[in-house]
């Protein structure tokens, strides 16, 4: 965190000054470890064992927060007899379809409730947000599974999307056993499931000595309960794995058992990446989401507005109002053209017909189906896994638009990319027409950033963009304007073409422009997002939204960000002038709430668990919820309230159910729906690992996303012959001095001089084993490619004892490419495409590799070297693709 979120880290230092203890768990000793009280090095890719053992410790040592667990979680809920877990099936769950590489969740249900799987994307950004507590959730109609079964294509496309972590249906209420004794109640299932995760296993798999594990267990449990809370902070060290989402799930289970969710100083904090990456999921840049986590309609099952609403809304909780949110969105986009008669233009929305994710798109580029590509602030030639595959795919496009500050590798690969050097490509053979359009930076435009706390903060333009640079808002607006002008000019849009054009012609596309270059006024865009009523008056809360077309709102969760016509995100009251929750700094969705599910900070009777940890509480006198933060609960609902039979929507939420976005109001220790790779976390080895899975016969995540492609060959793992060819574990990461694929740092002298060369970090022991010299060169090899790096030999990388032998890990910052003031090989040349099945994120945190002294060969010899390795390891197109 000190490395990548130094400004946010000031608060960790502040907490430290106040006596907080900081534990850092990382394969490498970093700037964070330097100021941590306890540094716990482990093998990359083994955290589920470490966290699972903590869960086991908490359960067996009875360290969990009983009152919290019994009242606020689904620990007491009873599962059906159909459920079978890894203990029974050697590492997989009941319902595995080995042909389709998919799970059928039917057997993961609660008993007594016909559980429906859910929809709407609970997916975090391709970022650190996986499983961030409190992503809004919604439920879906019973036919989801049937529909999906009937259309495996759609189901494959839907994946996490059509089966997000929706709450189990609120009724009929599932059977429970508050004594937690029933053998099939979640609590008992959890105990059995994690029984294998012992300190000895931690030592064997993670390389963490038992005394260090015990120390962590002590610190965490002693610091949790009524009086104290513990927070977990993670980012992509946890997410970029084929089991990334399950990493976060394990932490969620631990935090829920310890009562650290919905309380001050608790939680699981996903540190985000690009500025406003949270915003890019709230108002998504993802193919399967609409604003506010409304699902993008499927070609099947969402034919019209009614089927969509019927399919996607929930009986219980706030998702019962899906129609209001959806209709308001359609009104915001198509205004007067959207009428009850034409289904509010619902028909204009595109439909999901398959997986349209980034990496999937590479395939259709190669096929020639995808002809044109926009890169708005992305440098896949360096930043995306398996860079060679990325570049070769882009070389197949007809046209490519790159909007960036500088000439990034993705804009120049056609003339100086590595494939030109290796002779795989020749500039004259590349038909791709590349348009480079300079982009304005954040200082040259106004707008909002949404951070990991869901806090919207406004930034104001400082200067007009230089030269031809323009903001992305300018580009998008004026591009749309010109297209609409052309369409308007076109012979009246009757007939097929006319209908095709209608969605664009009918758009509300009239933003006031300001400044030298006619930039659309960002504040006007925020106004549309916030929404207005029939008379155009700004709305102040999403509770005002209606499904009859009388309200328009561009993103229901952002409703209120411009309440009273005032830009609430531009508030800057200093901390010293307000209380410690700082409600007047920026604006947090929903309803300027700073801690989600904060009703859990009070006991079932509505009183704070302790004075130290008071956040919100029930005021019996005024019969209302109150506190420092905006209560995340129905304002007047007393703790004593119990929903009558058949209650729906928010009425179905009991006075003791803090998790109001979950249809059953409970925190889920066991997830009956929502995760495509299991209701509970299981340790699987990474796609490529020098070690066998010690827990089960099942080596890897059985439903991980595999991309069979000649440029994406996988390596043998564990005990398979050939695995020994790649004996080391490489992990990739960031340096404070650089930013991601380097467009924002490698080209700047003041940053380039601070980390002036691509290097690999190795231990003295590995240096000796492979004759590497400090400041010399090393070549790192995988089945995809080989890269060269300067060598930093340092004690910060420590060899570990894993499964009885010494494991060496290699550290690779991934910021370098061929352009800029400091150049070097991109680490992503080494990476494969095997993805987490829930969020399609690449596994770049744990790769098996070989390391050799000296520089890599140039030209065609490079491909030769890699082919040689593949042959020695006996790699075929089938290697590593087993379920």
């Amino acid at each position: 965190m000190a490395e990548c979120h130094p400004v946010g880290f000031q608060w960790v230092m502040e907490a430290k000054k106040r006596g907080a203890r900081v534990i850092h768990v990382d394969p490498r000793f970093t700037r964070t470890s330097a100021v941590a009280d306890l540094f716990v090095p482990l093998r990359a890719g083994s955290d589920i064992v470490f966290l699972g053992a903590l869960v086991n410790h908490v359960l067996t040592e009875e360290k969990f927060f009983r009152d919290y667990v019994v009242s606020y979680t689904n620990a007491a809920t009873i599962l059906t007899e159909d459920y079978a877990g890894p203990e029974d099936l050697d590492g997989v769950f009941s319902g595995l379809d080995r042909e389709q590489r998919l799970y059928d969740f039917a057997s993961w249900r609660y008993q007594g409730g016909m559980v429906r799987s859910a929809s709407g994307d609970r997916r975090p950004p391709p970022e650190a947000g996986s499983g961030q507590p409190g992503d809004p959730e919604l439920d879906q109609a019973a036919d989801a599974d049937e529909r999906a079964r009937a259309h495996p294509g759609v189901r494959a496309a839907a994946r996490g999307e059509a089966h997000g972590s929706g709450g189990a249906a609120a009724e009929p209420f599932p059977d429970t056993d508050p004594t937690l004794q029933h053998p099939r109640c979640v609590f008992q299932v959890l105990k059995r499931h994690f029984a294998r995760y012992t300190p000895d296993l931690v030592q064997e798999v993670c390389g963490i000595p038992p005394d260090q594990f015990a120390e962590v267990a002590r610190l965490i449990t002693e610091n949790s309960g009524r009086e104290r809370t513990t927070a977990f902070v993670y980012s992509v060290g946890w997410t970029q794995h084929t089991v990334g989402v399950q990493y976060i799930r394990t932490a969620s289970i631990l935090q829920t058992l310890l009562g650290n969710i919905g309380r001050p100083g608790g939680g699981i904090l996903a540190l985000r990446g690009h500025a406003s990456i949270q915003g890019s999921t709230d108002i998504p840049t993802l193919f399967d989401l609409l604003p506010g986590y409304l699902p993008m309609p499927h070609v099947v099952g969402n034919e019209d507005l009614d089927t969509f609403v019927q399919a996607e809304s929930v009986a219980g909780g706030f998702w019962a109002n899906t129609r209001d949110y959806m209709v308001s969105l359609l009104k915001a986009w198509w205004g007067d053209a959207a009428t009850p008669e034409n289904d509010f233009c619902y028909g204009y929305l595109p439909r999901i017909t398959g997986n349209h994710g980034t990496y999937e798109t590479l395939r259709v580029m190669e096929e020639g189906t995808c002809r044109g590509y926009f890169l708005f602030g992305q440098n896949p030639a360096v930043g995306s896994a398996n860079g060679r595959m990325q570049r070769l795919a882009m070389a197949n496009l007809d046209w490519l638009v790159v909007r960036d500050f500088v000439m990034i590798e993705s804009a120049t690969f056609w003339k100086d990319g590595q494939e030109i050097e290796t002779g795989e490509l020749a500039t004259k053979d590349i038909g791709t027409e590349v348009f480079f359009l300079p982009a304005a930076a954040h200082t040259e435009k106004s707008g909002s950033f949404t951070n990991t706390q869901r806090l919207l903060q406004w930034h104001r333009q400082a200067v007009e963009p230089a030269g031809d640079a323009r903001s992305d808002l300018w580009f998008t607006y004026h591009l749309g304007r010109r297209i609409r002008a052309k369409l308007a000019a076109a012979p009246d849009g009757a007939g097929a073409s006319g209908e095709l054009d209608a969605p664009i012609r009918d758009l509300t596309w009239d933003y006031p422009v300001i400044g030298e270059y006619g930039d659309p006024d960002a504040d006007a865009v925020l106004a549309e997002i916030n929404g207005w009523d029939g008379d155009g008056k700004p709305l102040s809360s999403y509770t005002q939204l209606a499904g009859d077309g009388s309200t328009a709102c561009g993103c229901w969760i952002y409703c209120g960000s411009r309440a009273g016509g005032v830009n609430q995100t531009d508030r800057r009251t200093p901390g010293k002038d307000q209380d410690w929750t700082a409600p007047e700094w920026g604006w947090a969705w929903p309803a300027n709430r700073r801690v989600l599910y904060n009703r859990a900070s009070a006991d079932p009777d509505g009183q704070p668990w302790s004075e130290r940890k008071a956040l919100v509480w029930w005021n019996a006198h005024d019969q209302t919820w109150t506190g420092y933060d905006t209560p995340d609960f129905i304002a007047g609902r007393p703790p004593s309230y119990r929903p009558p039979e058949g209650a729906t929507g928010t009425d179905a939420i009991s006075g003791t159910d803090p998790f109001i976005m979950q249809a059953d109001g409970k925190a889920w220790l066991f997830a009956p729906a929502g995760l495509v790779d299991g209701p509970l976390p299981v340790h699987y080895e990474p796609q490529e690992s020098p070690f066998p899975n010690l827990l089960y016969g099942q080596q890897q995540n059985p439903v991980r996303e595999i991309i069979r492609h000649q440029r994406n060959r996988y390596q043998p793992s564990g005990n398979e012959p050939g695995a020994e060819v790649f004996p080391y574990v490489a992990t990739t990461y960031r340096l404070t001095e650089h930013h991601t694929a380097g467009g924002m740092s490698r080209f700047l002298p003041y940053l380039a001089e601070l980390q002036p060369a691509f290097f690999c970090e190795v231990s003295p022991a590995l240096a000796a084993e492979r004759q590497l010299t400090h400041l010399g060169w090393a070549t790192i090899v995988t089945a995809r490619s080989a890269i060269e790096a300067r060598v930093l030999v340092t004690d910060r990388i420590r060899p570990l004892r894993v499964q009885g032998r010494t494991l060496h890990q290699v550290g690779l910052p991934y910021h370098w490419g061929r352009n800029g003031l400091t150049t070097g090989d991109p680490a992503n040349e080494l990476a494969h495409l095997s993805l987490d099945p829930n969020v399609h994120i690449q596994e770049v945190k744990a790769l098996a590799c070989d390391v050799r002294p000296g520089r890599r060969p140039r030209g065609p010899a490079l491909r030769e070297l890699v082919r040689g390795y593949r042959e020695r390891a006996g790699i075929t197109d089938g290697t590593g693709t087993e379920v």
């Binding site: 000190a2 130094p6 400004v7 880290f9 000031q10 230092m13 430290k16 000054k17 106040r18 006596g19 907080a20 203890r21 000793f29 700037r31 964070t32 470890s33 330097a34 100021v35 009280d37 306890l38 540094f39 005394d211 260090q212 120390e215 610190l219 002693e222 610091n223 104290r228 001050p264 100083g265 209380d579 410690w580 130290r612 940890k613 420092y628 340096l735 404070t736 001095e737 002298p749 003041y750 940053l751 380039a752 001089e753 601070l754 980390q755 002036p756 060369a757 290097f759 400090h774 400041l775 300067r790 930093l792 340092t794 004690d795 910060r796 003031l821 400091t822």
Partner: protein, 285 residues
């Protein structure tokens, strides 16, 4: 003259983010200083000089035997979690075979007795109303005397234009009542800017806390007006001996010895004159 302003750099709070280095260069338009891998841990600017006025040192070393708990500097806010948990017992075994990574942001010391200023023959180096030491670039003739005189190797002549350069303690910003760029950018308050007396007060409290917490090697550096440079306008809290950070253990301003030097120069001159007279005593035959 207003209060004497200065820096207290508390290296126990430094996270090595180098924001101070970048902020300094950006504000003062200091040129890039060479894009070259040094192999000195994460330090690639290597030291203070004409084109690096803030420099962050990185030292990888074995951890001292007992892990320590960095204690509270400020009393906890009412609303926020109060005292540390009862069992403040530090995780002891963590120490075994472990290491530590010291980081420290260095800068011109703005010495009370500044050698550079004393020896400057043009008056280009001056003492400002804030008690800081600043080069007036329009007067400096590049004689380089300050370079040889500085006991910390801070000031340096820039080859491109021959002038001597160093930290100005953001004289322009101070004039406008602003915090120096480096201190402003520091996220962890490792660089603290303010009236020197207050800073010294705060620093003494901090170092006692650290020592009580077991940081036996924690010490203040250049905080003492009695030391060889009359105390630094910029002083430091270090977790190891100064030389480990590339700082001189006991710097003394050279001009303290100047009177004695002049005395010997005078005696030598007289001696020379005497020798000549003696040699020419006897007239030519």
């Amino acid at each position: 003259m207003t209060d004497r302003m200065g820096f207290f750099t508390d290296t126990s709070l430094c996270i090595g983010c180098k924001a101070c280095e970048v902020a300094c260069k950006t504000w003062n338009e200091v040129p890039e200083d060479g894009i070259e891998l040094s192999g000195m841990s994460y330090d690639n600017t290597v030291g203070l000089g004409a084109s690096t006025w803030r420099h962050v040192a990185f030292i990888e070393q074995p951890a001292p035997s007992a892990r320590v708990q960095i204690p509270a500097v400020t009393p906890a806010r009412a609303a926020a979690p109060a005292q540390a948990p009862a069992q403040a017992a530090a995780p002891a075994q963590a120490a075994a075979d472990s290491m530590r990574w010291l980081m420290s942001s260095d800068v011109c010391k703005h010495c009370t007795e500044a050698a550079c200023l004393d020896v400057c023959p043009t008056g280009a180096l001056m003492r400002t109303e804030f008690g800081t030491v600043v080069v007036q670039d329009d007067i400096c003739n590049g004689c380089g005397y300050c370079v040889a005189a500085c006991p910390f190797g801070v000031i340096e002549r820039r080859e491109t234009d021959g002038g001597a350069y160093k930290c100005t303690l953001c004289y322009d910003r101070l004039g406008d009542g602003l915090t120096p760029a480096c201190a402003k950018a520091c996220p962890t308050e490792s660089i603290q800017f303010g009236p020197l007396d207050e800073l010294r007060e705060r620093a003494r409290g901090r170092v006692t806390e650290l020592q009580q917490a077991g940081e036996t090697k924690a010490r203040l550096y250049l905080d003492d007006p009695e030391d060889g440079i009359g105390g630094g306008g910029a002083f430091f809290l270090l977790l190891d001996e100064p030389e480990v950070y590339g700082l001189p253990p006991d710097p003394v301003v050279t001009t303290r010895d100047l009177p004695r030097m002049w005395k010997h120069v005078a005696l030598a001159a007289i001696g020379l004159a005497g020798a000549v007279l003696a040699a020419t005593r006897r007239s030519r035959p």
